[in-house]
Symmetry: C6
Subunit: 254 residues, 6 copies
C-alpha cells in the first residue's frame, strides 16, 4: 500500500537505476529493482554472515517459497534471495498476480500458511527456532486478527466487526484503535486468532514434511546461487501453482 | 448526513456534469450522478476485474438488491451497478423513500438483513466468503449496537442508554465514546449485538435460498448490462416492495 | 441550566418576537415562545410528516402528557405540540412549578416515569417501538444514574457517592468523570440503574393501560389541533395533578 | 485549606464589611462573616422557599447540629442558618477548635456521623430523602476513602497506602490519581468504604432517634429565628460537647 | 536524592546560617541544619500544640527512634525532635552510615519496620491511631512495592521485574508507570506488599511491646527537652546498634 | 544499539583517549575503553566501598562471568571489573562474537541464565540478596517477554505476536505499547515469562553450585586484582566456551 510520496520515491529510484545502466527509459526490470530497494533497503554484499546463518536463511526462505507453490489461492514466489538487505538476512517475493478488490477466506488462510513457512522449516531442520521469524509472525497475526475482527470470518464470533479504528483525525492511521467490546469477547478474539494460526502452522508443517527433499534441494541451490527466480524454482522443483481452489463456475447461465 | 461543505461540493459537481452535457440547468439526473460521484468516487471503467471478481460482485450486489425488495419496512433498491467506483467493485443504492423522523425496530432489523445480503449470497453461491463484505458488516454492527445502546431495543438490557458520546468538544464527533458501564454489562451488550446479527443473517439466508433463481437471474443480467435501475429489477423479477409491515391503524376514532 | 450567553440569546429572541408582533415590550408569552425556539429550534411547518409519523408523534407526546397529570410529585404538562421543531417531531413541556433547592426520591422516580411515557405509549398502541424515544431514555438513564451515584438513593449501594467529576479545570464540565470504584461496584451500579428504570417502566405501562381511552382522546385531539395547552388537556381529560404525595406535616409544634 | 489568593480575597471582603458598618478596623465578627460569604456565597434573602422546603432545611441542618453536640471527638456547631446562600438552602458551621496536626480514627468516624446527620433526619421525619444531602455524602465518602487508602485505618487492608496522587505537576492537584492496585483490592476498598459509611449511618440514626424531641425543638426554633448560634443551641437543648473520648493520660511519668 | 538545584539551595542555606552566627566558613553543623531546613521546612516554635498532640508526637517519634536502635541492618537514629517543622509535628533523622551501592533484603525489611514504629507506638499507648502516620505508611508501602516489583524479593513472584517506568521523556520522572502485567499478577503484587507490611508491623509491635519502658522514658524525656541527639538516646537507653546482621565472611581464602 | 550521535560521541572519546597517551592514531584498545566509558560512565577510583560491598560485587560479577563460560550459545566474558563506574559497583562484559542477524531460542535462554548469575551467586554465598541485581532482572525479564510476545517462543501461546509497539510517531520509541489482547491472555503471558525465568534461575543455581570452588577462586582473584580479562579468567579456571550447542549440519548435500 504505497502512498503518493512512496510512488514518487519509487519512480525516482527506478529512473536512477536506469540511468546508471545507460538506458534511455525505465524498464520493468528497473522498477522491480527499485521496489526491492525501497522496501528492503539496499543490498549489503559486504556484510559477512556465518555459514550457519547462511544455512538458516536459506532454509527459512525456501520454506516460504515452496509453500507459495504448493497451496492454492496464494501468490506464487517470483524471487528468493539470501543476500542481506537492510535488517533482513534474506527475502522471498510473492507479488499479487492481479489487482484484486476482494480476498477470500481461503486466500487469507493461504497467506498465513506461507508466512509461517520460514519458522516451520527452521524448526524441522535445526531443531531450534530463531528470532528471524518475528516479522512473519507479526504479519500472520495481523491477517488472522483482521479475519476475526474486520471480515467476519470467525464462525464463533459471527458476522460482526469488532473494534473501531480512527483514521487521519488522530495521530497516524493505525495508531488509535478503540476497543468497543467486552473482556469476554476479547478473550474469544484471542482464542480465534490462536486457532487460525495453529491450524495454518499444522498445515504448513505437514506440507514441508511431505516436501523435505524439495526444500533441501532449494535451500542448497540458494546457498550456491544466492538468488533464484520463480521460474527457476518451479523448473527445478517441478511444481506448478494450483491457482484458485474453487474453480467451478458459481453462476450457471439459465 | 451531508455537511454544508458536502452540499456545496455536491452542487458544484452537479453543475459541472450538467455543463459537460451542454444543459442550461441542473436536472435531477445530474444531481443523482453527482451524489454517486461524491460518495463512491468516480467510475473506474478502465480498471480490469477478473471474470471471477465480476461474478462475485454481481452475486454480492444482487443479494443486497433482492432482499430490499423481499422484506417489509426497508428502502427498496433504485439502482445496482457493478462498474467499479473508488475502492468498491460495485454498489446498490437504497435511498430513503421519505424524510423520516423515527425509525422503528422492525425497520432497523430490515436494514441489517439487507446489509448482510451480499455476504450471504457469496456464501451460498461460492462456498467461500470474501473481504468484500467488510463495510456491510461494519454498517450492520453499527445499527445493532445503536439498537442496543442508544434506542433501548434489547429486552435483556431494557429501556436504558449505555455509553455517552462527546460531541464537537473533543477530537471529532464520533471519536470519543465514554464507557460508563461495567464489564458484565459490556458482555451482555456484545451478546445482544451478536444475537441481532445472527437473527438477521438467518433471515437473510432463508430469503436468499428461497429466491436463488431470481438472484441468479439478476446477477447474470448485471454481468451483461453492468447497471440496472430499480424499476428494471422489479419488472424482471416480478417483485413489489411489501411497504410498512404494521399497517393496522393504531388510533381508532372513538 | 442556561449560561449567560444563553440568556442573552433568549432575551434577544424574545425582543425580536415582540417586535414582529408590533408590541412595545416583551411579554411573558414572547419569552415562552423564545425559550421553545432556543431549545427546540424554530417550528418547521413546511416539513411534511407521513400520516403514520403524525399518529406516532401524537401517541408518544400524549403518553408524556397524561403521565405528568396522573402521578404525584412531578411537574404537570403546560403545553403539547406535534408541529416539528428542529430534530424532534413534537414535544411536551413540563416546566418546574417552583424554584426548588431539593428534589425528593419520589419526585425523581416520577420524572423517570414521565420520561418513559412516550415509549410505553408507542409499544401499547403500535406493537413496535421507534428511535423517537432515544432522548427520553437518555434523560431517564441520567436521572437514575444520579440517584444511584450522586444522591445515595440506592439502598444496595448505600449513602455514598460513586465517581468524581472534574469541573471547569478540564475539557468541558461533563466530559471527564473519574471512575473511582471497582468493577464489582460498577456492576451493581448498572443493576441498580436497570432496576429503577424497569420499575418506572412498569409503573408507566400500568398507568397508560388504565388510561388508554384518555390517551387516545388526547392523541386524536392533538392530530386535529396540533397544539394543546395544559389547561385544555386537564379540562378535556378531567384530570387534576395530585401534587406532592407526602403532605403530612413532618414537624409538629410541641 | 485556603490558598494565598483565597486569603487575600477573605481580607478584602472583611475590610469591606467593616467599612460598610463604619468601623475603623476589621473585627473577628467581620472576618467570620467574610468567611461565610466567600465559602457559601452571599445570602439570598429574596429567594422564596416553599414551606415544605423550609421545614426540610430546618430538619436537615438540625440533624448536623445536634450530632455535633452528641458525639465525642468532633468539632461542635457554632452556627446554624436556614437563610439560603449560593446553591445551599441552609448550612451548619463546625469550625475546628484548635490548629491540629493529627486527626484520630475516632475523630474521622465522628466527622462522618455528623456529615450524615442531615440525610438521617430527613429520612426519619419525612419518610423520603432528597438531593439536598448530595454534598454531605460526597464529604463522608471522601473521608472514608482517605481512612482506607491514605491513613491505613482499615484493618482488612492494613497499614498500607493505596493509589498515588500527582500534585502540581499535572492538571490541577486532585485531578490525577494513579490506581496502582488490582481489581481485587479495588473491590475490598469499596467494601471497606461502604462498611464505614454504613456503621456511621447506623450510629447517626440511633442518636437522632434517641433525640427526636430535641431535634424537633431545634428545627422549629430554626423555622422561627432562621439563625442560631452554637451557644444558643447548647443552652436550648441542655447539651455539652463530650470533648475528646480518650482522656486517660497515655504517658505516666515514672 | 538531591538534584543539582537542591544542592545549590542547600549550600546557600548553609552559608546563610553560618553568616548568621558570624562564622567565616560553613561547618558540618551548618550543613546539617540546612538539610533539615530544606527538607522539613523552618522550625515553627510559635505554633501551639495541645498537650495531647505533644504527647502523641513524642510517643510516635520515640517509636521510630527506638526501633532504629533495636534491629540490625538499619541506619540508627542521629536526632529526634518534637518541635514542629513545616507540616510535621516532629521528626526522627536516620541518615545512612555509609555511601552504599546495594541494599540487602534484610536491610529493606528493617527500614519498613522502623517506618511503622510511629503508628505501632500510637496504637499501643493511645488505643487509637492518627493521620500522623500517613507519610510513614507511604514510605513503607513504596519500599515493599519496590522489593516486589523491582528487586525480585518476593519468592512467590520470582526473579522478575514488574511494570516499566518512563523517565525524563514524559511529565516528570515518577509520573508515568506502565502496567505491563495482568490483573491476576496485580492481585498477587498487592498480596505480597500486604504480607511484607503485615510481617514488619508484627515485628515492630513485638519489639515495642518488649521495650515499653524504654519507649516511655524516651518519650517523656522528649516532652521535656524537645530535641535529643542519637548519642544522648543511646546513652539514656543503654542501647547499641546491632549493625549488619550477617557478619560471617562469605569468601574464604583458599 | 548505538545511534549516530552515540557513534560520534564514541569516536571523539576514543580520539581523546589516544591523544592522552600520545598516540598518533586510535587503536582498538582506545575504542574499547571509550565504549566502556560511554556506556558505564568514567571509573570512580576515589569512591570508597566497604569490604562487604567489595566482596558482594566480586561474587556477583564472578557469577555472571563463570556462567558465560559454562553454557553453550552465549557470548563468553571478555572482561570483569569491580572498580565502580557510574551507578554500578562493577561489571562484566560479554560482547557478541559475531554480527548476528538471528538469535535462537537456546541462545536467548542462555542470555537469561547469565543475567541471573549475579543474583544466584549472592544468594548462595551471602544467604541474603541485594538490590544490586535490579538491572539484571530487568534485562532477563525483557528477554523473556520478547520470547513470549514477539518471537513466538512460548509453546502455550503459539506462533503469534502479542501487543503492538508504536515507533517514532509517538513520544519515544519504546514508550507506547498497545495491549491488543485480553486479560486471560495477559495472565498466560505473565505465567510464561515467570516459567522461563524460573527455569533459567534453576539452571543458573545448579551450575553455580557445581562450580562453587571456581566461583570463589575467581571472586578472590578479583578482590585482589580488581580487573581480569576473559583470557586470564579462562586460563585460571580451565574453562573453554562450549560454543553453539547444535552443531550438526542441518542441510546434507544430496
Amino acid at each position: 500500500l504505497f502512498s503518493g510520496a512512496d510512488l514518487a520515491n519509487l519512480c525516482n529510484e527506478a529512473a536512477l537505476l536506469a540511468a546508471r545502466h545507460n538506458k534511455e527509459a525505465v524498464e520493468e526490470k528497473d522498477l522491480e529493482a527499485a521496489i526491492e530497494r525501497v522496501i528492503m533497503g539496499p543490498e549489503k554484499k559486504s556484510r559477512v554472515m556465518t555459514k550457519r546463518e547462511k544455512e538458516l536463511t536459506a532454509i527459512h526462505e525456501a520454506g516460504h517459497a515452496i509453500l507459495s507453490l504448493l497451496i492454492p489461492d496464494v501468490n506464487p514466489v517470483t524471487k528468493v534471495s539470501i543476500i542481506p538487505r537492510g535488517m533482513a538476512g534474506g527475502y522471498t517475493l510473492t507479488p499479487p498476480r492481479e489487482d484484486k478488490a476482494y480476498h477470500s477466506k481461503a486466500e487469507l488462510y493461504g497467506d498465513i500458511v506461507v508466512a509461517l513457512g520460514g519458522r516451520v522449516s527452521e524448526e524441522l531442520n535445526f531443531g531450534d527456532i530463531t528470532t528471524g521469524a518475528a516479522h512473519d509472525l507479526e504479519s500472520a497475526t495481523e491477517i488472522a486478527r483482521k479475519m476475526v475482527c474486520d471480515f467476519g470470518m470467525s464462525e464463533r464470533l459471527g458476522n460482526i466487526t469488532l473494534g473501531k479504528s480512527h483514521g487521519p483525525l488522530f495521530l497516524g492511521r493505525d495508531l488509535v484503535e478503540e476497543k468497543n467490546y467486552s473482556e469476554a469477547t476479547a478473550s474469544i478474539i484471542d482464542a480465534e486468532i490462536k486457532r487460525i494460526i495453529d491450524d495454518c502452522y499444522s498445515r504448513a508443517k505437514k506440507l514441508i514434511q511431505e516436501n523435505q527433499e524439495k526444500l533441501k534441494l532449494l535451500a542448497n541451490t540458494l546457498l550456491e546461487k544466492e538468488v533464484l527466480s520463480g521460474v527457476e524454482i518451479r523448473r527445478m522443483l517441478g511444481l506448478t501453482n494450483p491457482g484458485i481452489s474453487n474453480a467451478n463456475p458459481p453462476i450457471q447461465q439459465s
